[in-house]
């Protein structure tokens, strides 16, 4: 199958065919809240500099996956490996932008205060921000075109502006891997385009990005790799191989009928391969070894 040269097709859980520059390797990652298993046996490799859309219905475990990646949730099983040349030298290799509703917007902090928090990981305890940190903050604000908002309280901003503040903070962390949880939710078309432009710039800089979304159209048009999730990894690979009717109905179950009406997904893909699953971008297989 001819995908873009960047789109490494992932292999199964046996580890064969791991891309040369795998940045992030997940092996049989299983996460449980209380008694409920939210993610089961997820095995996937993200290439260095790759951009992955993590797609799935509500409750599929997209946020859970991200929280496990940054160490907010313990793994019941499996491992996460950050394989990067200078991962050791990096103070904070992974930056995470949570969903908007997880933030207390009434807290008295200004935009530049929030972005400066991205530098705290490098600053160490008791140390005050230096001129170099302020420079990084100023650059991050510029990058997101919110330099003029620097001294405004975050609570006064619009939803789109607040999202930019958190993106700027993530950039100020100078991460290798950036995790964006539902960044397209609740933003208007221009904000979405601005975000996609930013992702393009990050791609050129070689920053690995994982974006969770339930917008399958954006996922298939603007991302080289898609991970289709519903409690486990249903399919992972280039969009045409992932968005097959079989995979979609497997991910969305009862909602598949409604989704099959959205032929948009099939049309946008150059050649929806009926035998897509035959190419094997199905790490972990169906249900895994359990």
């Amino acid at each position: 199958m001819s995908a873009s040269p960047r789109a490494h097709t992932m292999s199964g859980g046996n580890g064969a065919g791991v891309p040369r520059h795998a940045c992030l390797s997940l092996t049989s990652v299983t996460v449980a809240y209380g008694g409920r298993t939210a993610l089961e046996q997820v095995t996937m490799d993200v290439p260095h500099g790759g951009q992955v859309a993590v797609v799935g219905p509500n409750g599929a475990g997209k946020s859970t996956l991200f929280k496990a990646l940054v160490g907010l949730l313990p793994l019941r099983d499996g491992s996460i490996e950050l394989r990067d040349r200078d991962a050791e030298a990096q103070a904070e290799p992974i930056a995470y932008v949570p969903q908007r509703e997880e933030i207390d917007w009434s807290f008295p902090v200004t935009v530049s205060d929030v972005v400066m928090m991205g530098r705290y990981g490098r600053l160490g305890w008791l140390r005050r921000p230096q001129a170099a940190d302020r420079e990084v903050v100023a650059r991050s604000l510029e990058e997101l075109s919110i330099a003029d908002l620097a001294s405004r309280p975050v609570g006064d901003l619009s939803g789109g502006q607040q999202q930019r503040v958190f993106l700027a903070r993530a950039l100020a962390q100078e991460p290798h891997v950036l995790l964006l949880d539902e960044p397209f939710t609740g933003v208007d078309v221009s904000a979405k385009e601005a975000l996609l432009d930013l992702l393009e710039r990050l791609r050129r800089r070689g920053i690995t990005v994982l974006v969770s979304t339930h917008d399958m159209q954006t996922a298939s048009q603007r991302f080289e790799l898609v991970a289709l999730l519903n409690g486990r990894l249903i399919a992972y690979g280039p969009p045409p191989a992932v968005f097959t009717p079989e995979h979609i109905s497997e991910a969305f179950g009862g909602r598949a009928l409604f989704l099959e009406g959205m032929v948009v997904i099939d049309e946008c893909c150059p050649c929806p391969p009926e035998d897509g699953h035959g190419h094997g971008p199905l790490p972990g297989g169906h249900g895994g070894p359990a």
């Binding site: 940054v70 907010l72 904070e92 949570p98 807290f107 008295p108 705290y120 008791l126």
Partner: protein, 283 residues
Amino acid sequence: MIHWLTEPFTLEFMQRALVASLIVGVVCSVLGCFVVLRAMAFLGDALAHAILPGVAVAYLLGANLLAGALVAALLVAAGIGLFSRRGAVKEDTAIGILFAAALALGVVLMSTVRSYATDLTHILFGNVLGVSAGDLWVTGALAVGVLATVVLLYKELLLASFDPVLAHTLKRRPELLRFVMLMLLALTVVVSLQTVGVGLVAAMLVTPAATAYLLTHRLSSMMLLAAAIGAACSVAGLYLSYYLNVASGAAVVLTATVLFLVTFVAAPRRGALARRAAARRAA
């Protein structure tokens, strides 16, 4: 007028009361900013009541009351931290149980003493006029320690209060910072024991900080303004207490409450009037 202002402080015990009130007004208000922002008001109140048995034991043993309060407060703060970490019961339930039990234990211990009604009143509502020079030194040292910790850990405390998730991903140990916060709160409650007493310390923690919250939009300016408000209310409360011959701790708290009410109505951006005007403009 000048005479009216200076007269109370010609008395030595009033001078000591003034210094003690200023210290408490500043420390409570600064720590109170975290209490307000992290919705820990109940916790502050609980800690205040929980020190009662420590004070009672110290009193019965003839030991230093502040030392007894300190030990009890640190024990209870550690206990609450432990209960809520394991998640066996919800945190406010754990606080409620500990706080009521400690208060009851304190009352039981105090009731074994003949003069307990008067002593209990002093502990519950403070007796700033009875502050000794020795108490003042202990209060001052604790206050300096609390404020220095807040200044040194400002960046970490800001991060852990605003975004515990980022604090965690940056390996800033939010649970350790929470524990530090509990300890600072415990020390603050002890510092406030003699001026406003355990019954009213929650008001000193919350009211000036809440007033400052309505007027600022940065944590650092909120803290500075809260400290100024706390200090001003303490002095004003002392004057009221002197001239109207009313209980000093209660007078300080009521002064702070009046200031809050005025701010709540008239604050430029977050006040009730400003919000109403903004809503009308938007409509």
